[in-house]
């Protein structure tokens, strides 16, 4: 039951759920939470490949550490942006912002 195919399918399911969340949530913080769901699925993929398809090397796990680092930095910047938006426009719902629409 723990083989590479099942781990990849599990990662794919979580990634698809996160994609649905990113595309449909209106709350900006909800979009950021869905991005974190997608990144968790990516980490799962990397660890699965490291366990089953690599001999003696830990590069999948080290790549996963860097994915977590970038996720933390991106969550911090995204939340700072949301707070700046909230302060200036008093709204965090994504369909209220149409300033850049042509």
């Amino acid at each position: 039951m723990i083989n590479l195919t099942n781990c990849l399918v599990l990662g794919g399911i979580i990634f698809a759920v996160g994609t649905f969340g990113v595309l449909t949530r209106r709350n900006a913080i909800g979009i950021l939470i869905s991005i974190e769901v997608m990144l968790a699925a990516v980490n799962l993929n990397l660890i699965a490949f490291n366990r089953f398809a690599e001999e003696g090397s830990l590069s999948g796990q080290i790549f996963s550490i860097f994915v977590m680092t970038v996720a933390a930095a991106e969550a911090a910047i995204g939340l700072a942006l949301v707070l700046a938006l909230y302060r200036s426009a008093r709204a965090i719902y994504a369909d209220r912002f149409s300033l850049l629409k042509w």
Binding site: I2, T24, R26, I33, T69, A73, L79, L83, Y86
Partner: protein, 172 residues
């Protein structure tokens, strides 16, 4: 099946935590109150950490709990609290793109599942999992030193950027 070909404890744990991860992911993208979505994200992180342990990445499991639950979700909870006054439970949480987004999600899952099931992956024979802390530490400081330093600069840039974006505007 595991090394012996029978359904063992680790298989049952993998099914349990995998199903839990999917349930928490669905909750995290669909609940109405955004606070419960952050809590569902905590559940998802715990379930994926358990799957990491089953896949032999013990250090990564603990680091994921520390970084995600301990820092990122706490950030989310703070900003949910700070924007509480305008986010209410009565407002609908999903926009009008639900149908096409579900279709896109199903297409993504279909492509990944098709490739994962049909492909003959070149696998190595499974060995006993070893502790990875020392090996990761050695690799980060020898083989992967440049990405490590670049990640430090990235974190510094994110820190400065978050401080600049988040400070109060001085009213003239």
């Amino acid at each position: 099946m595991d090394l012996n070909g029978s359904f063992s404890t680790s298989d049952a744990l993998f099914v349990f935590f995998g199903a839990g991860a999917v349930v928490f992911a669905v909750l995290a993208v669909s609940l109405r109150h955004i606070f419960y979505c952050a809590l569902a994200l905590i559940g998802l992180i715990f379930c994926t950490s358990a799957v990491f342990v089953l896949l032999g990445a013990d250090f990564l499991a603990v680091v994921q709990i520390l970084v995600y639950v301990g820092a990122i979700v706490v950030l989310f909870l703070f900003s949910i609290v700070l924007t509480e006054r305008i986010a209410s439970r009565a407002i609908r949480q999903t926009n009008e793109q639900k149908g096409i987004s579900a279709l896109v999600g199903i297409i993504v899952l279909g492509v990944v599942a098709y490739i994962a099931v049909r492909e003959h992956w070149p696998t190595v024979p499974l060995s006993e999992p070893v502790a990875t802390v020392g090996a990761i530490g050695r690799d980060l400081l020898t083989t992967y030193l440049e990405p490590f330093e670049v990640a430090s600069v990235l974190l510094l840039a994110a820190l400065v950027g978050a401080v600049v974006l988040g400070r109060e505007r001085v009213k003239k």
